[in-house]
Amino acid sequence: TRVRFEETYTILNKNFSNYFPKLFGGGKASLSLTSDDWLTTGITVLAQPPGKRNSTIHLLSGGEKALTAVSLLFGLFELNPAPFCIMDEVDAPLDDANVDRFCDTLRSLSQHAQIIVITHNKITMQAANNLIGVTMNEPGVSRIVSVDVERAIELVES
C-alpha cells in the first residue's frame, strides 16, 4: 500500500496544482509532505493566490481557503472520475469573480461527468442547463418542482 499511497499522492499533487490556477485565475499551489517516511507522513497544502506570497492554507482568507479546498476536491475527483459529481453549496463563501471561474470549471468537468450542484448563488444557477426546485409548501414535506432561472431566483426568495 506504500507504493499505492505514493502514486496517489503524486497524481493528486499534479491534479491539484492544475486546478488551483484555473479557479484563482493565476497563482500556484502544491502539496508537501511533513516527513520523509511515506508510511507516517502528513500532508500540508501550500497555496499562493495571484500577487501574494506563498503561504500555508491557514494564512489565507475564508474565500481563498474554500477555493483552495475546492481545487483539492476536484483533484481528488479526477483520481477516480465517476459518472456524476454532486456538490452541496461549495460556492457559498466565494465572491462573484471566483464563482464565475468555478462555473467555468463546472463546464469543463461536465465534458466527462454529469454535474449536480446545490446552490443559492444566482450566477451558478444561470450556469446550469436545467434547474430542479425543491419546495416545502406543505410544512415538513419536500416536493420537486421544475423551474427556470427567473422562477428559481423567485423560489429562493420566497
Binding site: R4, F5, E7, T8, L12, T34, G42, I43, T44, I57, A66, T68, A69, L72, L73, L76, F77, N80, P81, A82, P83, F84, C85, I86, D88, V90, L106, R107, S110, A113, Q114, I115, I116, V117, I118, T119, H120, T124, M125, A127, A128, N129, N130, L131, I132, V134, T135, M136, E138, P139, G140, V141, S142, R143, I144, V147, A152, L155, V156, S158
Partner: protein, 168 residues
C-alpha cells in the same frame, strides 16, 4: 453510465413518492433553507450502501425514515431507487449487458435493510461490488457534501493524509 432519476419515498422529508430527474449535463438544485436539498444527497449515499447514521446526520439509521411533521404522521419505511442508463456498458461484470440499471434500498422500522438491483434482492456487498471501479460509492469524492469544504480547510496534516489514503 448516466444517472437518469432518483425515486424517493418515506426518506427524510420526502414522505410522498417523489422522482428527481436529471436530464442535462449540469443540473442546479435550488430552494429555500431546510426544504430538503441535502436530503437528496443523503438519499444517494444511503442507497449506495452508507452504513453510518452519523454521516447521514442522524443518531440512528431509523432517522432516515420520515418521522412526521406538523400535519403528517411518521411512516413505517423509507425507500430510495437510483436509475442509471448503462447503454455504454460502463458498469463491469455481470451487469455490463444491461442497458438500464436500478439500485434500490428499503428500510423498515425493524431496522432491516433490503437491497435490490434491477428488482432482484441482493446483499449490500453486491451493491458495493457493482460500483467498484466506477468511481461511485457511499464515500467517494464524487459527492461533496455541505460542510466538507470547511472540514478540509481546517484539517491537520495527518487528517489530509487519511483523505488521500481513502482515495487510493
Amino acid at each position: 453510465m448516466k444517472l437518469k432519476k432518483i425515486a424517493v419515498s418515506g426518506f427524510k422529508s420526502f414522505v410522498d413518492q417523489t422522482n428527481v430527474r436529471f436530464s442535462a449535463q449540469i443540473v442546479g438544485v435550488v430552494g429555500p433553507n431546510g426544504c430538503g436539498k441535502s436530503n437528496i444527497i443523503d438519499a444517494v449515499r444511503w442507497v449506495m450502501g452508507e452504513s453510518s447514521a452519523k454521516l447521514l446526520r442522524g443518531d440512528s439509521m431509523e432517522d432516515v425514515i420520515f418521522n412526521g411533521s406538523s400535519t403528517r404522521k411518521p411512516v413505517g419505511r423509507a425507500s430510495v431507487e437510483l436509475l442509471f442508463d448503462n447503454s455504454l456498458g460502463r458498469i463491469k461484470g455481470y451487469y455490463q449487458s444491461f442497458s438500464e440499471i436500478s439500485v434500490k434500498r428499503i428500510l423498515g422500522r425493524d431496522g432491516k435493510s433490503d437491497y435490490r438491483i434491477n428488482d432482484k434482492r441482493v446483499r449490500r456487498k453486491d451493491v458495493l461490488d457493482m460500483f467498484r471501479g466506477t468511481g461511485l460509492g457511499p464515500r467517494s469524492y464524487s459527492i461533496i457534501e455541505q460542510g466538507m469544504v470547511s472540514r478540509i480547510v481546517e484539517s491537520k496534516p495527518e487528517e489530509l493524509r487519511a483523505f488521500v489514503e481513502e482515495a487510493a
